[in-house]
Amino acid sequence: MESEIHETSGLSVSPRLKDDLRAAANWGRWIAIISISTSVISLLVSLKKGSFFGALIAASLTVFIYLYLFRFGNLVKQGIETNDQDALNTGLYNLQTYFKILVFFLIIIFIIAVLAIVFLALGASLGRR
């Protein structure tokens, strides 16, 4: 019956895989909690320094990214403890989304870095003239 709902791939969640997934979920949750706390503290630091707007954007992006990792941790842990296949699958889907968003931001950072280098080089060459 179960196999009708969840198509099997020939792979199972063995006890070792269960332990590793549970540990990964726990670490993921901790990373999310610590990173969100860090961004809140950084926001407070920026508030003191007077550069609130940029820090607010950075903090909201951090919360947005790490919420997926937190959900991965929670759902995978719940899935393993209650033998809930759907929770496990949703947890893994959240991990996928977390990495996807990370790549998206990496690309943006990469583009900004390249543009910064180009503008710096242009500025330097114009400054010499």
């Binding site: 019956m1 179960e2 196999s3 969840h6 198509e7 099997t8 791939s9 020939g10 792979l11 199972s12 969640v13 063995s14 070792r16 895989l17 269960k18 590793d20 997934l21 540990a23 990964a24 670490w27 993921g28 901790w30 990373i31 610590i34 990173s35 706390s37 860090t38 503290i41 950084s42 407070l44 630091v45 003191k48 320094k49 899935g79 393993i80 033998n83 296949q85 496990l88 699958n89 893994l92 889907y93 991990l95 996928q96 990495f99 996807k100 990370l102 790549v103 990496l106 990469f110």
Partner: protein
């Protein structure tokens, strides 16, 4: 019959989980390649500091926010070189486990090999554990900044 029921209650790495994991390995693979490129840049920085280090202390004293006036130029270059080396080591370890997670998990799913899949997920666990240690460091640094401001 009982055996069938209990096995149906066991968790599976079903097609949905496989699709998610495979997609995850693709994205994490990209991240690990980007990290490898970053490692290359850090290594270049390390090499640059090894060759130019002794000439950089006056520059840092003039423009840097940290005052190195009490240190000799050799010590400054040594410190900066050490920082680059530690950064390289940290990024290297993280990249290794992320790349291992990416390749092993993909292979495990493609070949339907339970052992390889387990190795991949084990690498994910180690990657997340190391990342957690680094995030603790960044939290501590943020707390120190806040304390300094108060």
């Amino acid at each position: 019959m009982e055996e069938q029921t209990s096995s149906s209650q066991d968790l599976l790495v079903d097609e949905t989980a496989c699709a998610s994991l495979k997609d995850t390995t693709r994205w994490s693979g990209i991240i690990s390649i980007v990290l490898m490129i970053c490692m290359g840049f850090i290594a270049l920085g390390l090499i640059a500091f090894l060759f130019l280090g002794t000439n950089l202390a006056p520059y840092f004293n003039k423009y840097g926010s940290t005052n190195f006036s009490g240190l000799s130029s050799g010590m400054v270059s040594g410190m900066i070189g050490m920082i680059f080396f530690i950064m390289l080591l940290c990024v290297g370890v993280i990249t290794y486990y992320l790349y291992r997670f990416s390749t092993q998990t993909r292979k495990g799913i493609d070949w339907k090999d339970q052992l390889v899949l387990e190795k991949g997920i084990s690498s994910l666990r180690i990657y997340l554990a190391i990342s957690c240690v680094f995030s603790i460091f960044s939290l501590l640094s943020a707390i120190f900044k806040l304390i300094k401001l108060l």
